[in-house]
């Protein structure tokens, strides 16, 4: 796994922890930090109230780690050019995300690129 902790504190300042941008508070994500995770899609959950990319990456110790990458709801993904079959098991992707504050392997997606570094959908 290649995790790059890109500290973006200069740009990202936390606002009220109770801000609801989705159906739940976004306070569970540390929006002052970014992680970039490269791995293989295990399952793409095209579901409400959120879609999830379940992906497996290899950590520095050579162990496989399964990440849960939260996205918006399918209607927004659809509007940005995504479809249920956009990501298939085995697809190699790189996901940039704000990580979970809990330290667990998860985050909220900022953008996704394929193995060639091309944006998937409009990534907007």
């Amino acid at each position: 796994m290649r995790i790059a902790l890109a500290v973006a504190a200069a740009l990202l300042v936390p606002i009220g922890a109770g801000t609801v941008a989705a159906h739940h508070s976004m306070a569970m994500f540390d929006n002052t930090r970014e992680v970039t995770v490269r791995g293989t899609v295990k399952q793409f959950q095209w579901s409400n109230p959120h879609a999830y990319i379940q992906m497996v990456s290899t950590d520095a110790g050579g162990r496989n780690v399964e990440w849960s990458m939260e996205m918006g709801s399918p209607m927004y993904l659809y509007a940005r050019g995504w479809r249920p079959r956009t990501l298939r098991p085995g697809t190699e992707v790189t996901v940039r995300a704000h990580p979970l504050r809990s330290g667990k392997a998860g985050g909220v997606v900022l953008d996704v690129v394929d193995a060639d570094g091309r944006a998937i959908g409009s990534n907007q």
Partner: protein
């Protein structure tokens, strides 16, 4: 059909007669309905809460990102949560009680009133008899415009409440009652009581739909809560993408903080 013929049909027990009546009267009724339709506003498209337009694949609205960069609160964001409401002691008590159990709380939908202000597009289907307001979570409001509010005895609290409406020019005026306390259904909703009365005045202003909302609820409010919500047509929506709300993975970690429920896919 003329009255004597109806009486004769009834005497003879001719069950097929009403169908004949309908077919004879249908052209006039159809013409009347076409005329009624022609006088109604038409709000086609998929309407997204204005401050949530452009929401990214991560579910984050540009307005939220912009506010973060400035270190400011998000203006006009989900106004119907009641952030500007003047809660009385009971309203405050309900809010605090809900917040005490919020960690990791799951939901089954937005419900009313939050569906009118939520991260989901809305569709307004206007007919002479009613207006249907539909979101992408299969939630539907039925606003009847051809009748009065039912008697109190015929009402009970529900997630969507009961709505009747009428047109004042091109403004749809909606009265809604018997909404089950919204915060019991959805944790981000306001703590209004079952007895709250909601008035919405919805109209088209240029390319925006705008709704002035007044909530009257002496049980939880010091004074009526007045706010405004608005919607625009966002890019990329060409049909209503309905997917069941069946994968709420909101969980809570060992520190009592929300997290994504772990899920190992075999």
């Amino acid at each position: 059909m003329k009255a004597p013929l109806l009486a004769l049909a009834a005497m003879l027990g001719l069950g097929a007669m009403p169908t004949m009546v309908q077919s004879q009267d249908a052209p006039d009724a159809q013409a009347d309905r076409v005329e009624q339709f022609s006088q109604l506003p038409f709000w086609p498209g998929y309407w997204v809460a204005e401050e949530q337009a452009g929401t990214t694949v991560g579910g984050i609205a540009p307005s939220v990102l912009a506010a973060r960069e400035k270190g400011e609160a998000v203006a006009n964001f989900m106004n119907l949560r009641g952030g500007a409401a003047k809660w009385n002691a009971e309203g405050q008590r309900r809010l605090e009680a809900a917040q005490a159990i919020n960690a990791g709380r799951k939901a089954a939908g937005w419900g009313f009133p939050m569906m009118m202000n939520a991260a989901t597009p809305l569709q307004f289907v206007i007919t002479p008899e009613h207006v249907l307001i539909v979101n992408a979570y299969s939630e539907v409001r039925h606003v009847y415009t051809d009748r009065d509010m039912p008697d109190e005895f015929d009402l009970w609290p529900t997630v969507m409440g009961t709505s009747v409406g009428h047109w004042e020019g091109d403004t749809l005026v909606v009265e809604t009652t018997m909404v089950r306390s919204p915060i019991e259904y959805f944790h981000g909703a306001p703590p209004f009581s079952d007895d709250a009365h909601y008035e919405e005045r919805i109209r088209l202003e240029g390319d925006r739909l705008v709704s002035d909302v007044t909530v009257t609820d002496p049980t939880t409010l010091e004074e009526p809560f007045v706010t405004q919500v608005s919607w625009i047509r966002d890019e990329g929506f060409d049909r209503m993408i309905m997917v069941d709300w069946d994968n709420d993975r909101t969980g809570v970690d060992e520190n009592g903080v929300n997290t994504i429920e772990a899920e190992v896919v075999e």
